[in-house]
Structures are given as structure tokens and as C-alpha cells.
């Protein structure tokens, strides 16, 4: 399938939000800042994704899956910008708008898995689930979760340590908290107590949030 242009994706996205989330019957071209002869528009009409009646544009059934995926990519991009890269506010939005167009050919799946299949965007709107999300759910996979999400008695492999402060990282590493090591959570309250090898350690929730675990048992 021919890849859509970024402009066409933006139009689909706006239409999907208006139609599915705001229950409107299509949009006016004016609202989308579009002239009637825009090439992106012609592209979508040709694919039969949208229908243009005079000044009004509506999303066709055929265009829905593609539109939903563009919204998904946008919101995943927002999550990535704001949660992982820590770019907040308008700047985060702008970056997400540019970034979303790069999330093709399985990159969206990878990012979705990295973010552990988020269900909402940073603004609280739902992220339409992809096939990877459905799969993870049906297998009951936890993916990679911070230590704070474990129940007492659960154990798993240390996946990675989130890097916010080099010194904190070093403390953890010097205690044997290294990717690949097995960790068992003994207690959650009032501090997190865990076991790595034959040693036990207590950490507070600030540090516990930095330790990410996979393959929970």
C-alpha cells in the first residue's frame, strides 16, 4: 500500500477525532484549514477514505481503520515525548506531531511494547489498541514494569534501570541490581525490600520506581 503523506494523515486524524470521539457528522473544510483543491485531500478521496460534499468532509467506513491507526500513532508519540523523553507542553505536542509520521512498519508496535501498551495519551484520551496490545492482553503478559508494581513474593528478571541520576544508578548497580539478575520482592510497605542473590536490600519508592522488571512470576 502506498504510504500516506503527513498532510493526509493529519486530515484523517482530525476527522476520526471529530467523528468517533465528538460524534460529529464530518467536518467543514474551513475548520480543518483546508482549501477545496488540496492535494492531500485528493489523495484521500482517491483512496475512498473520505467523502467530500461541498464544504463538508466525512470519514468513510473504508477510511476508519487507517484513521484509527493515525490517531494511535499520534498518541503513542505523545506518550514517548512526554514520558520517556520528558519534553512537556506545547513543545512536546509539536514534536509528537512530527514524530508520529515516522511510526510505520512495525515501529509503532515496538514503541507500544516499550511503553508497555499504554491505554491513554498524556491528555487522558484513549489510545486505540493495536494488534500488539490485544496479543499481550490475551497472553496475560505484564511486559516490563517498575518494581513498585510487583506484589510481595513476586519475582522476575531485572530488565533495565531508568536513568535519572547517575549516582543513584551506581548505588543500585553496586548492590548487584543489574540487568539480567533475578530479583524477588519481599515486602512493599513501609519500604521496598527485595532480594538479589543471597542479599536483601531496602529501598524507598523513589529508587524502586527506577528498577524495571520483566518475566514476572
Amino acid at each position: 500500500m502506498e504510504k500516506l503523506t503527513p498532510q493526509a494523515e493529519e486530515i484523517l486524524e482530525a476527522l476520526w477525532i471529530a467523528t468517533v470521539e465528538e460524534k460529529a457528522v464530518g467536518c467543514l473544510l474551513n475548520d480543518l484549514d483546508l482549501g477545496p483543491n488540496e492535494s492531500a485531500l485528493a489523495e484521500l478521496v482517491k483512496l475512498a477514505y473520505v467523502e467530500k460534499r461541498g464544504e463538508r468532509l466525512s470519514l468513510r467506513k473504508e477510511g476508519r481503520p487507517e484513521a484509527e491507526m493515525t490517531v494511535r500513532r499520534h498518541r503513542l508519540a505523545e506518550r514517548l515525548m512526554m514520558d520517556i523523553l520528558n519534553i512537556q507542553g506545547a513543545k512536546g505536542n509539536d514534536q509528537a506531531c512530527e514524530f508520529e509520521h515516522l511510526l510505520h512498519e512495525g515501529v509503532d508496535t515496538k514503541i507500544c511494547t516499550l511503553l508497555n501498551h499504554p491505554t491513554t495519551c498524556p491528555h487522558g484520551k484513549p489510545i486505540p489498541p493495536g494488534t500488539c496490545c490485544e496479543e499481550a492482553r490475551s497472553k496475560g503478559e505484564f511486559g516490563v514494569v517498575p518494581l513498585t508494581e510487583l506484589k510481595a513474593g513476586q519475582s522476575g528478571e531485572i530488565a533495565y534501570l531508568a536513568l535519572s541520576d547517575g549516582q543513584k544508578m551506581q548505588k543500585l548497580m553496586s548492590m548487584g541490581v543489574l540487568p539480567g539478575n533475578q530479583l524477588e520482592l519481599i515486602q512493599r510497605f513501609p519500604s521496598y525490600v527485595f532480594k538479589v542473590g543471597n542479599s536483601q536490600f531496602a529501598v524507598d519508592d523513589t529508587l524502586a520506581r527506577e528498577i524495571h522488571i520483566r518475566d514476572l512470576r
Binding site: G176, S191, A202, D204
Partner: protein
């Protein structure tokens, strides 16, 4: 160089709580404090030993997790490695955690250190079902390896033999991944000076942004440093994301390789008793009642009841009053007719009557019983569990669970505890802990006397306790708001619970008592002389008179001001002065409570003030002094008004 001419040195290094101090003690025959609490040795201990007719100097260092220091203790330990060239370096590890501790061995081999590995605590490891082939490990590592249970002196002879027959530093080090090696080589060829850690390890530490090492290199290389700097910056930049992690993973990979064929792990059966007890201590539902039990029996019953009650009654009431005092006073009076000399020796504030009697009959039994309880608890490994239990609460007052040790030690001696606050990680924590120690933590001598005093009046103890806890939390909370800086991060190793060993506990208690006694007796005597001089010259009366309006504002008899003046020379002096007042029947229940509260909060003793000055600097010490004085009298006044108005304790 003259340094070479001195005795050959043996230096002990290793993680906290692996038995370095035990090894030091059996090697040298002298005693350093051994404890089951990570990070207890802040100072470097020195001793001597003879092995195969050669005499060595032995250094015990604070625990360190790796050559990259994070805390103050680690910095102290690392400094020795950076500056000294030991003849032998003993790396002591805990056999149970060999996999976690070998990376540091590798790091030390990498640094070309003359290393012998001591695999300690083998007995507990074997109980966990671990089996070791140490000759194989020795072959893999290329350095002498000695298995040991040092607390029972097992392995001591083998170690001495290994030291006597030690030859040459370890074989060259096994390589890391090629790209990492390339960068290390690029940097280390530029190092021209002779570094105690070798060019390779020095280069690696610089790459890991160890600025202390970088400064040292800058000094050593002098004009060559600008040549090296761009290379260092380029490497640091290109590896900014994950160098530390990569190195850790490389060392982990090598550790696995070294342990190949060395370690067999059998599945251990159900968790042993100590593990179950450990969980009881850490679970808040059972842990808090356990803490209260420990406080009740340990502090209230044993220190307050037995130490401050039974023992003091015997020493002070029976031994001194009935036997020693009359004889001593007779003896001193027989020596001289001169009034002022008689007063100095055996008068009201005389050296004998005030100095020696208070120190031996009042203070020593109380401090001794406290240190006994403290040492027992320390050896069981209870304190780290207490630290994790209170961490959440302590965060509210700007401290982390780590601060539990200085604060608990404060109940023994605030001066000692103020010194120990240096193990806390941030300046903010150290200042808050110092304030709280100066203010709301009564030392054991004071505590003992106050518990004894107040238990006579129902309700008074409860009021005192509530005020202390309230002030502690309130001032902690407020200083956490006022002082800039972030909340500390808490992490702590939880060592296994152990049965305390009688000999260890006794030796530790006696060592602590000895150092406390050596520290206080001179101060008591000095204080006696000052008070005597004050009395003789009339200055004391003037000061007491000057303080009287303040004291009477609190609703206390004017005589109490003497107790406050004493209190400054020694906190427990003040409390003991109060004791005399109460015996003379000069205090009503309200007055007693108000006096006890004010005195507990009041200015720390002169020794603690000096220690605050040493540890925190003049400005902070003076500020804390004034703050504490104002708050003490302010609280005393408010409490008096409140008690009078409410009719409580009347």
C-alpha cells in the same frame, strides 16, 4: 622516599558488613568495634601484626562497594588506595554473596593491586547450601584465595601463610569488550605518571566521571593534562549514556566466568528461623509492636529501671554516701585547713563530690547499661530493619531511614552521635540530624535520671514523652520545609539476623564505655573546677541570679537555675542537679515536669557544642545553640502555662 622506609602495610578492603573488622581484630589482637550494621567504621583503624618474623602495619578501612566512591566512608577507604601503596591488599568478601562482590575483586586486580582474596563467612554460606571449590577460583583469578570463618579464626593460618609467601602483583587482566578496551587504551597511553591504581584503572575511573581521580591526574600530569583532556572529553561524551552500565555488565560477565566450576548451589529448605524473625521485624504490623517492646524493655526497664534505678541506688546511695564519701571527705579535710582548697576537693562542687561521684555513681551505670543494649541490638542486625521501618516517617522530617543510627546512638551520647551524622549523605540531612540531636534527643545519662525522676509522678512521664515526640516531629518537619535541598534517597543493605555473641557484645560495650569515660571524666573535673571557681569568686551566684528571673518565669524555684548552668557543662549534670532538687523536695509535679522538659530541650552540653562546631562549622553551631535555647525556654514557659491552666498534674 621516607614512606618506603616505614613498615610494610597490609590494607583491608571490602563491602560493608563482610567481617573486615573481625579479621583486623584477629590479625592484630587489638579491638575495633565490630558490628552488624553497614557503614559503622567511618575511621580507619590501625594496628600491627607479625607474620613469619616480619612486622606489618595493618589498616582497616570503612566498607566500600566499588572503587567509585559515593558516600563519605567509601571516599575515606578509596583515599587510602589512591595515596598508599600497600604491600598486601586483602579483599574480604562474604561467601554468600560472592557473585555480587567479585566484581570489586576484578576491579582491584585490574588496578594491579597486590591482592589476596579472603572468602569469609563460609559457614553461613554452607548452611545456605552453597559449595565452593576455592582452589579452582584461585586458578581462575590468578591470585591467592583463602577461605575463612574469621570469627572462629578458621583460615587465619592459611591467610598468614599466603601473606608470608606472597609474590608479585596479579597477572595481567582479562579484557573487556573490544570497543571498551580501545577507549581505555587510547586514554591510558596518555597517562605518564606512576599511579598507585595503575594507568588502566585510573583511565577507567576518569571515563566514569570520577572527578576526584581527574583532579589527581591533572595535578600529576601538569602540562601534559591539556593533551589528554580532549581525548577524555570525547570518550566521556560518546559513552555518556551507558558506560557505567556497560562496565558493570562486563564485570558481571567476567565474574560468571571466574565462578565457572567454583560454585554449586543446592536448594535450601524452608526459610530459617532468622529469616522469619527478620520478616517479623520488617513488617509494620509486627515490627512496630516489636519496636515498642524493645524500647520498653531495653530502654525503660533496663536502662531506666535497672541502670538508673538499682545500680545508681547501690553506687550512689550505698557505696558513695555510706562508705566512700565520709572517708574521702575526712581524708581530704585532713589534708588541709585552707577553706578554698577544702572546697575544691570535697566541697559542694568539689572535684570529689561533684566530679568523681557524678561520673562514677550516676552517669557510668546508666551509660553502661545503654551501651550494652545498643551493642546487643547492633549485633543482631536490628538497626537496618528499624531504618527501613521508619524511612517513610523520616522522609517527612527531611531525613532518610539511615539517620536512625545517629539518632538512636544519641540516646546513648549526643556528642558521639553528632560525630556519626557525617555518615549521612547530604548536608541537609546532617544539619537536620544535628539540630534534632541537640534538641529533642536526651542522652542516656539525662534520660536515666529523668526517667527516674518522673516515674515518681504519675502522668508526668507521659507529658514529657508527648512534648518530646511532638517537638521532634514538629521541628524536623519545619526544618525539612525551611532548609533547601531535595529529600534524600534511601537504600540499605539488610544483613541477615544473627545471634549476638556474648564476648563480642561485652568487649564492644566495654570499649564504648571506656572511650566515653575517658572523654567525660576530664570534662567533669574541668566543670567542677569552673563551678568551684565560680562559687568562690561569686560569679556563679551572679550567673545563677541572672538566670533566676528566666527560671522563675517558668514557674520554677530559683534554685533550679543552678541545674541549668550545670546542664551546659554536661547535659547529664543538669539532670543530676535536678535529681538533687527533687530529693530535697523543692519541686511540685508541675515544676518537675516543666523543668525536665526544659532541661531536655535546653542547650546541649559543652562537649556536644564543640563537636557541632567541629562537624558543622562555627556559624551553624552558634545558630543551633541560640535556636535551641530559645525553643527550650519557650516550650517550658508554654507548658507551664498550659499545665497551670488545665489543672493537669496539679
Amino acid at each position: 622516599m621516607p614512606k618506603e622506609a616505614t613498615q610494610p602495610r597490609i590494607v583491608l578492603v571490602g563491602n560493608p558488613n563482610v567481617g573486615k573488622s573481625v579479621l583486623f581484630n584477629v590479625l592484630t589482637g587489638s579491638y575495633t568495634t565490630v558490628s552488624n550494621y553497614p557503614g559503622t567504621s567511618v575511621e580507619v583503624s590501625r594496628g600491627r601484626c607479625r607474620i613469619a618474623a616480619r612486622s606489618y602495619e595493618v589498616l582497616d578501612t570503612p566498607g566500600m562497594y566499588s572503587l567509585m566512591p559515593i558516600t563519605e566512608e567509601e571516599r575515606v577507604a578509596r583515599k587510602i588506595l589512591l595515596e598508599d601503596r600497600p604491600e598486601i591488599l586483602l579483599h574480604v568478601i562474604d561467601a554468600r554473596n560472592i557473585e555480587r562482590m567479585l566484581p570489586m575483586t576484578l576491579q582491584l586486580i585490574e588496578a594491579g593491586q597486590p591482592l589476596i582474596l579472603v572468602v569469609n563467612i563460609l559457614d553461613e554460606a554452607e548452611r545456605l547450601g552453597m559449595k565452593f571449590d576455592l582452589p579452582q577460583l584461585q586458578q581462575n583469578l590468578g591470585i591467592p584465595v583463602v577461605g575463612a570463618v574469621m570469627k572462629r579464626r578458621e583460615g587465619l593460618e592459611e591467610l598468614k601463610q599466603a601473606i608470608a609467601s606472597y609474590h608479585g602483583p596479579p597477572a595481567p587482566f582479562e579484557a573487556y569488550a573490544a570497543d571498551l578496551e580501545e577507549d581505555v587504551a587510547r586514554l591510558s597511553v596518555l597517562l605518564t605518571a606512576d599511579y598507585p591504581l595503575g594507568a588502566r584503572a585510573t583511565a577507567l575511573l576518569m571515563m566514569q566521571r570520577d572527578y576526584e581521580v581527574e583532579d589527581m591526574v591533572q595535578l600529576e600530569e601538569g602540562e601534559g593534562f591539556p593533551l589528554l583532556q580532549p581525548v577524555l572529553h570525547a570518550i566521556k561524551f560518546s559513552r555518556r549514556v551507558d558506560l557505567n552500565l556497560q562496565i558493570s555488565l562486563e564485570r558481571k560477565r567476567l565474574t560468571r566466568k571466574m565462578l565457572d566450576g567454583v560454585l554449586q548451589q543446592e536448594i535450601a529448605d524452608s526459610p530459617p528461623l532468622s529469616e522469619r524473625l527478620s520478616r517479623l521485624c520488617m513488617n509494620p504490623i509486627t515490627g512496630v509492636p516489636l519496636l515498642l517492646l524493645v524500647l520498653y524493655f531495653g530502654l525503660y526497664q533496663f536502662v531506666g529501671g535497672f541502670g538508673a534505678g538499682t545500680l545508681v541506688d547501690f553506687l550512689e546511695g550505698t557505696l558513695f554516701e555510706e562508705y566512700l564519701n565520709p572517708a574521702a571527705i575526712n581524708f581530704f579535710n585532713g589534708l588541709t585547713d585552707i577553706y578554698w582548697l577544702r572546697e575544691l576537693l570535697a566541697g559542694e562542687y568539689g572535684l570529689w563530690t561533684l566530679g568523681v561521684r557524678y561520673a562514677i555513681a550516676l552517669i557510668l551505670p546508666i551509660v553502661g547499661t545503654f551501651f550494652l543494649v545498643f551493642s546487643i541490638l547492633e549485633d543482631t542486625g536490628y538497626f537496618p530493619r528499624l531504618a527501613m521501618l521508619v524511612d517513610r516517617l523520616f522522609k517527612r522530617i527531611g531525613l532518610s531511614g539511615r539517620a536512625v543510627i545517629p539518632l538512636v546512638l544519641g540516646f546513648g551520647c549526643d556528642t558521639m552521635a553528632t560525630m556519626v551524622t557525617r555518615t549521612l549523605e547530604t548536608k541537609r540531612e546532617r544539619v537536620i540530624a544535628t539540630v534534632l540531636l541537640a534538641l529533642a534527643i536526651p542522652c542516656s545519662a539525662q534520660l536515666g535520671v529523668i526517667l527516674g525522676l518522673l516515674s515518681a509522678v504519675p502522668g508526668a512521664l507521659m507529658v514529657w514523652l508527648l512534648v518530646m515526640v511532638g517537638i521532634f516531629l514538629l521541628i524536623g518537619f519545619l526544618s525539612a520545609q525551611v532548609l533547601p535541598g531535595e529529600n534524600p534517597v534511601f537504600y540499605m543493605e539488610i544483613p541477615p539476623m544473627r545471634m549476638p555473641q556474648l564476648r563480642n557484645v561485652l568487649v564492644k560495650t566495654l570499649t564504648r564505655m571506656q572511650s566515653y569515660f575517658l572523654e567525660i571524666l576530664p570534662l567533669f573535673l574541668v566543670a567542677s573546677v569552673i563551678l568551684w571557681a565560680g562559687k568562690m569568686s561569686g560569679v556563679l551566684d551572679d550567673i545563677v541570679a541572672a538566670l533566676s528571673p528566666v527560671v522563675t518565669t517558668l514557674g520554677l524555684p530559683a534554685e533550679a537555675s543552678a541545674a541549668f548552668i550545670f546542664g551546659f557543662f554536661r547535659r547529664d549534670f543538669g539532670a543530676a542537679g535536678l535529681y538533687d532538687l527533687q530529693r530535697a523536695g523543692l519541686l511540685s509535679p508541675i515544676q518537675l515536669t516543666v523543668a525536665a522538659v526544659t532541661l531536655t530541650l535546653f542547650v546541649p552540653c559543652i562537649a556536644q557544642l564543640l563537636m557541632m562546631h567541629k562537624e558543622r562549622g562555627l556559624k551553624t553551631a552558634v545558630a543551633i545553640f541560640f535556636f535551641v535555647s530559645c525553643l527550650a525556654f519557650g516550650t517550658g514557659w508554654s507548658l507551664n502555662q498550659f499545665l497551670l491552666a488545665s489543672g493537669l498534674l496539679a
